[in-house]
Assembly symmetry: D2
Amino acid sequence: MKDPFTNTTQIRVRYGETDQMGYCYYGNYAQYFEVGRVEALRSLGMSYKALEEQGVMLPVSEFTVKYLAPAFYDDLLTVKTTITEIKAARIYFNYELINEKGNVISKAETTLVFVDKATMRPRHAPENFIALFEQL
Amino acid sequence: MKDPFTNTTQIRVRYGETDQMGYCYYGNYAQYFEVGRVEALRSLGMSYKALEEQGVMLPVSEFTVKYLAPAFYDDLLTVKTTITEIKAARIYFNYELINEKGNVISKAETTLVFVDKATMRPRHAPENFIALFEQL
Amino acid sequence: MKDPFTNTTQIRVRYGETDQMGYCYYGNYAQYFEVGRVEALRSLGMSYKALEEQGVMLPVSEFTVKYLAPAFYDDLLTVKTTITEIKAARIYFNYELINEKGNVISKAETTLVFVDKATMRPRHAPENFIALFEQL
Amino acid sequence: MKDPFTNTTQIRVRYGETDQMGYCYYGNYAQYFEVGRVEALRSLGMSYKALEEQGVMLPVSEFTVKYLAPAFYDDLLTVKTTITEIKAARIYFNYELINEKGNVISKAETTLVFVDKATMRPRHAPENFIALFEQL
């Protein structure tokens, strides 16, 4: 992978995702970044759903997020997702969350681990997965 | 079952469960009632977790809830759960949500269906489940 | 309002919205129907966000939902929302959730109450709100 | 504050918090840590609710979490919360999540900022807040 692959998708903040401060609750960002990475994979022709059906799970092992400015109810946010690296059993993503004014309101990183559903042990990324990224 | 079985458990409203109205979001009550029925079953010596491990799932097929007064952040709510009937493949629960002032702030009902995990078809309640309720 | 107003919008089931049965958790439908009614109002030129900024809140007072068939991870669902009635301080919505095969997997109804933010008392629907519906 | 203050509280994983992997969804940990810090403050006689009523909000500005092993449905988890530092407008917490076997399954850190509700600007921690911590 020469250049990291980047994809953008949009999410609108739901009422039930706000809290009584009037902010999007900090715990809900994890779902937004998950949507970001699933759509990034889909744009490459990889379905996360199909990956699981192949017997490979991809749990998150590490998650870091900075909240630079609040997101509010009904904001239409852009999730910018970058696949930064695939190495052995791990895949690394970076994220930016951008509001309608164009401000980056959050930055985040996740590490996910390829896990064999049968053995529940870490395993290498599936070959079709690696092949796809090598083409990029 | 002569008299319906009733159990109470307590739940504290989390910050992330509030919305920007300052109310506990209406969608979060479903989790509270689920905790209510799981604890009602546990108090009878029935573990919902064990039920699933036996190959029986119990999805909700119908849910009705009335919101009489709001629940607020940090409120310590009492969930009063009544098992009203078990019939063939169905189990019926009623719920009341009571706040610290003793006011009933919500009433709800759910219907759940016993489903065989292998066939994904409705099935009768497991025998140990029925036996337990007959004792009541 | 001669004919009830109907609007459709789409929602994709997120991974975090599934449960260990592999179904979309029954409590998450409340959010989907909320998105349905917000988008129905938006399609009429009514912003729920603006309504709150005018000092009017719209909490749910009653919610009934039937789960006819499960929704699964990554399903692209159509939420079909109908405004059935506006009367005094109340607005009534009906919903259908339709999966990619065209099956209606859920039907629901909600009653919402117009509440004055300052007094926290029920109030009539705002005039611009009623006027808009009378045009339909 | 000579020694950092530590408090423990317990949380049971709800069905709606699991995902189709059968794990507690990674995004739900944020709520658990929030409960941890709210209960840590309560054990010191500080109510987060009262803090907001005084006009001070405490949004999260940074959150890092490591998922060392999964949490499962119905697990009774211990949240061990440590207040590591209060400095100017910021308060720092560390967390450990421990399962029933005594294994540390997650470690996390958050930074929160004291914000004046009226001006929406960062401000110093309230005096009663600082005084309390100086006693520790």
